[in-house]
């Protein structure tokens, strides 16, 4: 009795212990883990920022992928890719990121819901019985978190999905809404205008619709409120030294600035000349120069309209630089999926030979490699001989029209705050003393900041935005990113490498492969079996001889 009882006691103890260990191992493995991406493009490696966003979700983000079941074959890889990426999110988000896949095709309820959510029904051409038919498909995502929701109405290109998803998760889960500051220096051209209205009403309204916006009268107040997370300049020309100092220190305190900087001024009578100094005097201290030459794009020009009194003519105009889809850097996800941006009469940017330590520069916009630049005086005539101009041009090639500088900046005011000269009015001197003294002077960034510069400011003006609505998208995406940049930094746009056949086998070859393998492989196994059988028989004989001959 004894031995048996102790045996079972020992056994049950061991079994319980082992099961506890298993549960523990399962539990720990679910918390502490690592993933290795074996794809060549690392398409499934989420950026650290996405991972940290997913880790910090408090509550549950519900994601509904509306995917039509009868997608045309060409859309299948994209659909696969979308699902894969979502599962990858799920892998990191765990129970905080829940995916549902809905097929609205035969599910009127799901279809209705998709419509309510504002998802778009896309049209795709599909080959059906050798006939091209247009299929209406859903391929969109709705995300809900508590009472908030965000949608991606239709996913046209999954390459940018990580950015789209992560930025939406941030929007859903953030506690407070960051403030976008707009500094508008512009005045209407129309002197008769009694209110002397801004030339940037459209963009300001659009930004107000999407973001929490604060208008900042920089010259009057000389301060940027604490809550302003990112700043957009409109037409920053003729800045005072004090304003420049405030901007410099704002950036050094970890601020985010988007500065479209005008390189070329256009007068009332369409005469053009290099722009007056503006904010570029500040960012030249950060290692970036605004070149006030006119960039002309030699191919795929934007269409410009000119009124010649009698009529309006529309013609391709190289001086309105149109950025091609390839001109948007893939390393900067917020704008990577854009396919057009028109910069009318633009200069270009170039980095100084040596960047200050701590500053990282990423080109975000560039022309095609056939662009060229002209120096002042500029002739804006749309009907001039462009080829001759190009031949005369001293600079040809690719020009960078947008840069992102990020990291630790040195101050543009190494000697401390500017001292107002004696002619300054009393109240102004007081204001300067009060505002500029309210923060300790930084000679170097206390926190990493971001400065995005485009060598053109005009493209956001009302009349251009009306013609080129993509320009608005560009600014919105940048603003979006700047408000959330800590969480979105580093997300790249990753194109799916579709891997079609490189060799198209002929029909007989196909059949050979098909039947050769389907039948040949099993046949090989049969052959092996027979071979083994033969060896066995032979061995049998040998053993027989060995023992029988001894008899």
């Amino acid at each position: 009795m004894e031995a048996r009882r102790t045996y079972w006691q020992r056994q049950s103890f061991e079994i319980v212990l082992v099961i506890v260990l298993f549960v523990l191992a399962a539990f720990v493995s679910d918390r502490i883990y690592t993933r290795a991406d074996l794809t060549a493009e690392k398409v499934f490696t989420l950026t650290d920022s996405t991972k940290s966003v997913l880790r910090n979700i408090d509550g549950i983000v519900n994601v509904q992928l509306y995917l039509s079941g009868d997608l045309p074959a060409e859309a299948l890889p994209a659909a696969e890719r979308i699902k894969d990426l979502l599962y990858e999110y799920e892998a990191y988000g765990g129970r905080h990121f829940r995916i549902q896949i809905k097929d609205p095709t035969n599910n009127p309820e799901a279809k209705k819901r998709a419509e309510e959510l504002g998802l778009l029904e896309g049209q795709m051409q599909a080959l059906s019985r050798d006939e091209l038919v247009v299929k209406r498909v859903y391929m969109g995502i709705a995300m809900t978190y508590r009472d908030k929701s965000e949608i991606i109405p239709i996913i046209t290109n999954p390459a940018n999905l990580e950015y789209d998803l992560t930025s939406r998760i941030i929007k859903l889960t953030r506690e407070s809404i960051p403030v976008l500051g707009i500094v508008d220096f512009s005045r209407s051209y129309d002197i008769q205008d009694p209110e002397n209205k801004s030339r940037f009403t459209v963009i300001k309204q659009a930004l107000r619709d999407r973001f929490e916006v604060q208008d900042i009268k920089l010259e009057e107040t000389l301060e940027i409120p604490e809550e302003v997370k990112a700043l957009i300049f409109l037409q920053p020309m003729g800045l005072s030294d004090e304003a420049k100092y405030v901007l410099d220190q704002y950036l050094l305190r970890g601020g985010n600035i988007f500065a479209p900087s005008e390189a070329i001024m256009i007068g009332q009578q369409m005469q053009a000349f290099p722009a007056l100094p503006g904010y570029e005097t500040v960012f030249s201290s950060y290692g970036l120069d605004l070149k006030k030459m006119m960039v002309l794009e030699n191919r795929n020009n934007a269409m410009a309209r000119f009124s010649t009194g009698m009529m309006v003519i529309q013609m391709p105009y190289p001086m309105w630089v149109k950025i091609q889809p390839t001109g948007f850097s893939k390393d900067f996800a917020p704008i990577a999926p854009l396919d057009s941006l028109v910069l009318p009469w633009s200069g270009y940017l170039s980095l100084q030979k040596e960047l200050p330590d701590g500053v990282k520069a990423t080109p975000i916009l560039h022309t095609s490699k056939d662009a060229y630049a002209l120096s002042s005086p500029f002739d804006l005539n749309p009907q001039q001989d462009w080829q001759a101009q190009r031949a005369n041009s001293s600079k040809q090639g690719t020009f960078v029209l947008g840069y992102l500088l990020s990291g630790i900046f040195p101050s543009a005011f190494p000697d401390g705050p500017p001292v107002p000269d004696e002619n300054t009015r009393e109240e102004r001197t007081q204001l300067i003393a009060e505002k500029l003294g309210s923060h300790t002077h930084l000679n170097e960034s206390s926190e990493p900041g971001n400065l995005a510069v485009v060598s053109n400011g005009r493209f956001l003006e009302d009349n251009y935005l009306n013609d080129f609505s993509e320009n608005l998208l560009f600014v919105e995406n940048i603003a979006d990113w700047m408000l959330e940049n800590e969480s979105l930094i580093g997300i790249r746009s990753r194109s799916v490498a579709a891997r079609p056949f490189e060799i198209e086998p002929t029909e007989p070859v196909k059949n050979l492969i098909k039947f050769g393998l389907s039948i040949g492989l099993p046949l090989l196994v049969v052959l092996f079996g027979l071979l083994r059988w033969g060896i066995r028989l032979k061995r049998r004989k040998l053993i027989k001889q060995r023992y029988m001959s001894g008899e």
Binding site: L38, R95, P500, E504, L517, V525
Partner: protein
């Protein structure tokens, strides 16, 4: 270890000296290559994804067919009487037998590599993904095989062992799928993550798209070792009574 090896070789010999292993491998190869080529030349993408997505479903039927005889047959013919009278620890027998059955499965999987060669000849596939997926197949098969071994150790009837294994593996395969989790509503919704963790196929999806996750690997390792451990215990328990 020598003992394990001896058992392993004996079992492997029994597999390959009888038609079982051949039938298994031939049917497995015929089905996989037939399913693969059905769409391969139509989609015209050099990827083996379609091949790997069918593997969990094939394993569900094929592996129990390999594992069913491991113990059930010995029990039926009584040869386990002889086997267990040899100076062997239970785990040595279990491990030897298990590894032999695993070898049969791995051989079947390796024999599908000509498909990969065809894919590579026609285009430039993601080799990392293919290698990772093959690895995943082996992990998946190892886990299913361990479950089948355990079931086989509980019965002396091969058919019962096969059917029960298929049911259990099928249950584990679909438990984490939306098919099942969608029924977990209301207060049961807290079970969803656990059901998903338990799902055999859920842990295969990462691997089959080329991402190796330590969680999946550990899941498969746990799901391999636990049934094997239980097999050892069930054999000991049947002795002690």
């Amino acid at each position: 270890m020598r003992q394990v090896l001896a058992i392993y070789r004996k079992e492997l010999r029994l597999y390959f000296d009888s038609p079982i292993a051949y039938i298994f491998i031939i049917v497995f190869l015929a089905i996989t290559s037939w399913l693969f080529f059905r769409t391969f030349f139509l989609i015209r993408v050099s990827s083996m994804r379609s091949f790997f997505t069918i593997i969990p479903w094939l394993c569900m039927f094929f592996i129990p067919a390999v594992s069913m005889r491991l113990w059930a047959e010995e029990r039926k013919t009584g040869s386990n009487e002889l086997l267990m009278s040899l100076p062997l620890q239970e785990w040595e027998v279990v491990l030897g037998k298990y590894l032999a059955a695993l070898t049969v499965y791995v051989v079947a999987i390796i024999l599908t590599t000509p498909l990969a060669i065809v894919v590579g000849a026609l285009g430039s596939p993601e080799w990392g993904v293919i290698v990772g997926s093959y690895l995943g197949c082996i992990f998946l098969g190892a886990a299913i095989l361990a479950i089948g071994t355990f079931i086989s150790s509980l019965t002396s009837n091969q058919i019962v062992a096969f059917i029960v294994s298929v049911i259990i593996v099928a249950g584990l395969t679909i438990v984490g799928q939306p098919l099942v989790t969608m029924f977990l509503q209301g207060p049961l919704i807290v079970l969803v993550p656990y059901a998903e963790w338990l799902g055999l196929a859920n842990h295969f999806s990462s691997i089959s798209r080329g991402v190796i996750d330590s969680r999946d690997i550990i899941y498969y390792i746990l799901l391999t070792t636990l049934p094997l451990y239980l097999t050892v215990k069930s054999i000991q328990a049947s002795k002690v009574g």
